[in-house]
């Protein structure tokens, strides 16, 4: 799952990355720094896995006041 600072929320880490890239001579119009969490879960079907990860996000992995998240599922045989 991918966690991002919500739009409009000040992201000082992204700002620092953006400034560093500019110093290196790159043209960037903005940088935001999020967090990637790789999870391995056992589930009988994708819906169940998604529901489980949704609950993890709500309870711990993201703070809904300041962060948004996306879940991407990949099946592992």
């Amino acid at each position: 799952m991918l966690v991002r600072p919500k739009p409009g929320i000040l992201d000082p880490q992204g700002k620092a990355v953006e400034n560093s890239l500019r110093h290196l001579g790159f043209t960037v119009d903005g940088a935001r720094v999020g967090r990637l969490v790789d999870l391995e879960v056992e589930a009988s079907d994708p819906e169940q896995a998604r529901a489980e990860v949704e609950r993890m996000c709500a309870e711990l992995l993201a703070n809904p006041l300041i962060e948004s998240y996306e879940i991407e599922l990949r099946e592992d045989a």
């Binding site: 000040l10 000082p12 880490q13 992995l61 300041i66």
Partner: protein, 234 residues
């Protein structure tokens, strides 16, 4: 001093707390009997108040305070607070209370991205909470901050609601060290018995360290603990 006059106050200790001893020393100097409570304890001893100290609980992994809120002792703190018990969160303790949903808002990395360590001037905005009962509205307090993630954030709706309900109790005066929205330094819950603030009152109780203004806040806490322990149990 009798036991009732020296009220017991719990100071929680998480892995990574580092101001627990300072908080205990300050409370002792102000006439309380501090009791250090390990985060894995399921119950609180009989105390009149609880302090969540500063530090870097669980290494600030994920988000500051995010993991500490699941400590067994935090459930006991939530129950204690629900019964009206006074709970003060300082710095990392403030972050834990926000993550636990016991206080509104969230704390983000400082706007400057730098760790700040300095004295700041605070303005008392409200006094209808035991922690600030000894202050006057508009009073200036000089208390040090030392944090990397103290930028208080609330979205527009929440900010308006907090303002309306009088939950914004402390603001930075003149210099805002972390870029917090509306210069907010401390907030309380709706009932006023839970307060969180980024500055460290426990580092400002001895003239040797430059200011004794932290005693205004901690004396209010000690007094509230004393009243609670002396109150007849229902």
């Amino acid at each position: 001093m009798s036991e009732a006059q020296r009220p017991r106050i719990a100071v929680l200790v998480f892995p990574g707390s580092n101001d627990d001893r300072d908080a205990a020393l300050a409370l002792e100097a102000l006439g309380a009997e501090p009791v250090l409570v390990w985060h894995a304890d399921r119950d609180l001893p009989e105390v009149g108040a609880v302090v969540l100290p500063g530090g870097f609980s669980y290494g600030d992994y994920l988000r500051a305070g995010a993991i500490a809120r699941f400590s067994p002792a935090m459930r006991a703190v939530a129950d204690f607070a629900a019964e009206g018990g006074p709970v003060l969160g300082i710095c990392n303790g403030f972050q834990v209370l926000c993550e636990a949903g016991l206080l509104p808002g969230a704390l983000r990395p400082n706007e400057s991205l730098s760790f700040v360590c300095r004295d700041v001037a605070l303005r008392v905005e409200r006094t209808e909470t035991p922690f600030l009962a000894r202050c006057e509205v508009g009073q200036r307090l000089t208390i040090p901050v030392k944090h990397g993630e103290g930028c208080f954030f609330a979205d527009a709706d929440l900010l308006a609601a907090l303002d309306e309900a009088g939950q914004i109790v402390l603001r930075y005066d003149e210099v805002n060290p972390n870029g917090s929205i509306d210069d907010i330094a401390g907030v309380v819950n709706q009932e006023g018995n839970i307060m969180g603030l980024m500055p460290h009152p426990e580092h400002a109780v001895d003239q040797l360290l430059g200011s004794t203004d932290g005693a205004f806040i901690l004396n209010g806490l000690v007094e509230a603990a004393r009243e609670r322990l002396l109150a007849p149990t229902v």
